[in-house]
């Protein structure tokens, strides 16, 4: 307004002046002009009156405006959350079966005939409830009837490379229907409650007096769901429910730097003892299993495009959240040569994740995390977008595949079913296969999915719970994920002369009866290629070791089977008493201990001694190591939420 010598009613700055949008200098000029120009003053007053009445009217309208329905939005806050005991049951139950899928895969690589693999799975599932004493009369179907059902419902393989899987769920349906009670893989009852999350009661392991009980027997657990769940809670600014915190899953979430196995034992066992940082006079024992890494060059690279239905009906806890979990699980198994892209449809259509190397897991996980069901807008050409993305990132000699995840909504952009089938057929001929995965019940368009998969040279999986999801995702999609050992059991034999008492940190729901250790019919966890598994004990020694090292404190026995074997093998390793200072212990022990303490504090454990979140920070920040995927640093970030 440097040239504002006289009033110009068309100058938009007058309105800006009235709305307080002018910088101080210009405002002063305006005021100066109004001061000396009465006509301008009158005009601006009239303008102000208009402005104020419009403002008043618009604000009244605003005050009376309708509001949104809160419920769907509040529900959408936690799309990845286990919403009920039911879902949590799936997560728990999945642990024992993660690698069952791996072994099935192995079977498949031997033969395209699915039947033996199917029976293997059924047999395994039938055995699960026997692993831990049952607390309820849950119906357990006879093995033979299950197998019969399974084979009856699995149609004969069609064209080469095209078959359908339809396993029978063996959940205690009747029980659930009657009393809202479901059961996890270990036979622990879960009480479902509407709208709130319910977790299996998980009393922590006590200190065991070695004079009365020198053995400790448990199955390994490679699951990590608890850490993810705990992280979700903390990021929401809430403490997780105590029973959602499972120490072993927290500790095993992270990678450790144990030596690779040599010889014909598929895993390396590392044993170590050092002083306990939270309880003076106590010691920690670390057992670290490092699974053999299958050379990456023996596995074809994968170029996967997930085409995910995010319509409102997918919001159901056993639909989209299971898709998300499964995807995360799969990505965990892939590496930098593999690519994953995500296209959504039927809610918001789009390339949610451009084809991304699995070396950038973080970006992929974030995209998975962001997937939310909602909206009902008809998607644009979701399926073409998926195929285009797959084509653009074509891997010669690799597995190029579109994976459709839906509960039956086919608004993929092509409404004519024949045109859709034709598209899928054409693309399959061009080398991009389609896998169709149906989720949830009720809305599933069974025949259509089946037809699509047939035409797409893919397979059709029907996923009604997390176990199925894991089996199908890990089995077919990782292509070459191989279990290197199955039914891995650990038995620790403490020397009563040296150890007064011990406490196993975590693995509460993995406990085995001592007699089942050598019983090859008793199922246990599997180790996949490259997996590492850590178990920590807190022990009370009878006498401190002389000069730092003493006699044998304990003996670790490990039983496992080859992935297709029936007979277990045994190895044994012993550990001497050692009074190593905590700070002199390996990074593996130090970081693992910090995570375990973190879990104990979250659980309000009676055994956390003098440990605090500050202790966790101190211990963890000293043991970051190489941290190739940034997970330990992220842990420190997460920890800050508890330090504020």
């Amino acid at each position: 307004m440097s040239e504002m010598l006289r009033y110009d009613p068309e100058d938009p700055r007058w309105t800006a002046y009235l709305l307080g949008e002018l910088e101080a200098e210009e405002r002063t000029r305006c005021e100066a002009l109004l001061e000396r120009d009465a006509a301008a003053r009158a005009e601006i007053e009239a303008l102000r009156e208009t402005l104020e009445s419009v403002q008043r009217e618009l604000r009244t309208e605003l005050a009376e405006a309708p509001r949104l329905d809160r419920a769907p939005l509040v529900a959408a806050l936690k799309p990845t959350a286990p919403r009920s005991g039911r879902l949590f049951f799936y997560l728990l139950a999945a642990a024992a079966l993660v690698l069952a899928a791996g072994s099935i895969l192995w079977d498949q690589s031997q033969s395209r005939d699915l039947a033996p693999a199917h029976e293997a799975l059924v047999r395994r599932e039938a055995l699960v409830p026997a692993e831990v004493p049952m607390r309820s009369p849950a119906p357990v179907l006879a093995e033979s009837s299950l197998a019969a059902k399974a084979s009856a419902s699995a149609p004969a393989p069609g064209a080469v490379g095209s078959y359908r899987v339809r396993a029978v769920a063996q959940e205690p349906d009747a029980l659930r229907a009657l009393g809202y009670v479901s059961q996890d893989a270990d036979g622990i009852l879960l009480q479902e409650s509407a709208g709130t999350e319910t977790y299996a009661g998980l009393p922590e392991n006590p200190f065991v007096d070695v004079a009365r009980e020198r053995l400790s027997t448990f199955s390994i657990d490679v699951d990590t769901a608890s850490y993810t769940n705990v992280r979700r809670y903390l990021e929401m600014g809430q403490d997780p429910p105590r029973d959602a915190v499972r120490l072993e899953e927290l500790v095993n979430y992270f990678e450790y730097d144990d030596p690779a196995p040599r010889g014909d034992v598929p895993f390396h066992v590392a044993l170590e003892m050092a002083r306990c940082p939270w309880k003076s006079g106590h010691h920690l024992v670390r057992i670290g299993l490092q699974g053999r890494v299958i050379p990456r060059d023996q596995r074809p690279a994968s170029n996967l495009v997930f085409l995910i239905d995010v319509s409102g009906s997918m919001q159901n806890p056993n639909k989209l959240p299971i898709v998300q979990r499964s995807l995360a699980l799969l990505v965990e198994e892939l590496d930098a040569r593999d690519r994953v892209a995500i296209v959504t449809y039927a809610g918001s259509t789009g390339l949610v994740l451009p084809s991304t190397s699995c070396g950038e897991r973080r970006a992929i996980f974030e995209a998975i995390e962001r997937l939310g069901a909602g909206g009902s807008t008809n998607g644009a050409a979701g399926i073409q977008l998926a195929y285009e993305t797959a084509r653009e990132h074509w891997i010669a000699g690799g597995s190029n595949r579109v994976i459709l995840c839906t509960d039956g909504d086919f608004n993929v952009g092509i409404t004519d079913p024949n045109a859709l089938v034709e598209l899928v057929r054409t693309k399959a001929a061009g080398g991009i296969f389609l896998t169709a995965l149906g989720f949830g019940m009720g809305n599933l368009k069974d025949a259509t999915l089946e037809k699509l998969a047939d035409q797409g040279n893919g397979f059709y999986g029907y996923v009604d719970d997390m176990r199925e999801a894991r089996k199908l995702f890990v089995n077919e999609l990782t292509g070459t994920l191989v279990a290197i050992a199955k039914d891995v059991k650990i038995q620790v034999d403490f020397a009563p002369e040296q150890v007064r008492s011990f406490r196993l940190l975590g693995y509460e729901n993995r406990a085995l009866a001592h007699k089942d250790f050598a019983d090859d019919t008793k199922d246990a966890g599997e180790i996949g290629a490259g997996h590492d598994v850590t178990a920590l004990y807190e022990v009370e020694l009878k006498a401190p070791a002389f000069l730092g090292v003493g006699p044998e404190a304990l003996r670790v026995r490990l039983r496992w089977k080859e992935p297709t074997g029936d007979a277990s093998r045994l190895i044994e390793q012993s550990l001497l008493v050692s009074d190593t200072k905590f700070s002199a212990a390996s990074e593996n022990l130090r970081f693992g201990a910090s995570v375990a303490l973190f879990g104990m504090l979250l659980r309000g454990s009676a055994h956390a001694g003098g440990g605090t979140y500050a202790t966790v920070q101190e211990l963890a920040s000293d043991a970051i190591g190489t941290d190739a995927h940034g997970e330990r640093r992220a842990f420190l970030e997460l920890l800050k939420r508890k330090l504020r």
Binding site: D11, T15, L47, V54, E61, R67, A76, L77, G347, E366
Partner: protein
């Protein structure tokens, strides 16, 4: 790193602050309350999935931009079938039934609508974004995809037109 998913309190604060203005904004573009609700619902879902934090100063502009684009998308799809121009839109907005409120309310609301119908679509939108969403010129520019200067022109011309009309109306009333 994306920010953590909003907490429920954050969602509630965000809704409290913006939902009604968003609904009115969407309704003024779409002409009906039902589709406006769908669009705003979708906007909020998008925000939950990855919008700026509620305390972020850019949050309001982000919400209105997303909402506007979603509403225009809906319109564009319709236009393929029945071509709608600004005039038709103005008519739709003007003929929208008044809310069920007290009579004088309804009367004033009718007058407001009549007056707003005299403006161009963009002028109306800028007014709503100013007085209902309480956005700054810069934010309005961001939402509407125009320059800050143009926002100033839109608002100034809108107010001048309204002033002229109201004074004409007042004069008419005086004469009658």
């Amino acid at each position: 790193m994306t920010r953590p998913r909003p907490s429920e309190p954050e969602l509630r604060v965000c809704l409290e602050r913006h939902e009604r203005a968003l609904l009115l904004h969407a309704r003024s573009i779409l002409g009906d309350a039902e589709r406006a609700r769908d669009v705003v619902q979708e906007t909020m879902l998008q925000w939950l999935r990855g919008g700026p934090s509620e305390s972020d100063p850019g949050c309001a502009a982000w919400l209105f931009r997303v909402c506007r684009n979603a509403a225009l998308d809906v319109l564009r799809k319709e236009r393929r079938m029945s071509s709608l121009d600004d005039l038709a839109l103005a008519e739709r907005a003007a003929t929208e039934p008044p809310p069920e409120a007290a009579l004088d309310h309804a009367e004033r609301r009718r007058m407001l609508k009549e007056l707003l119908a005299l403006l161009s679509e963009k002028q109306r939108e800028a007014l709503r974004l100013k007085f209902q969403a309480e956005l700054s010129y810069r934010e309005i520019a961001e939402v509407m995809g125009v320059t800050v200067n143009h926002v100033g022109v839109l608002l100034h011309e809108a107010l001048r037109k309204l002033r002229d009309c109201t004074s004409a109306r007042a004069a008419k009333e005086l004469l009658s």
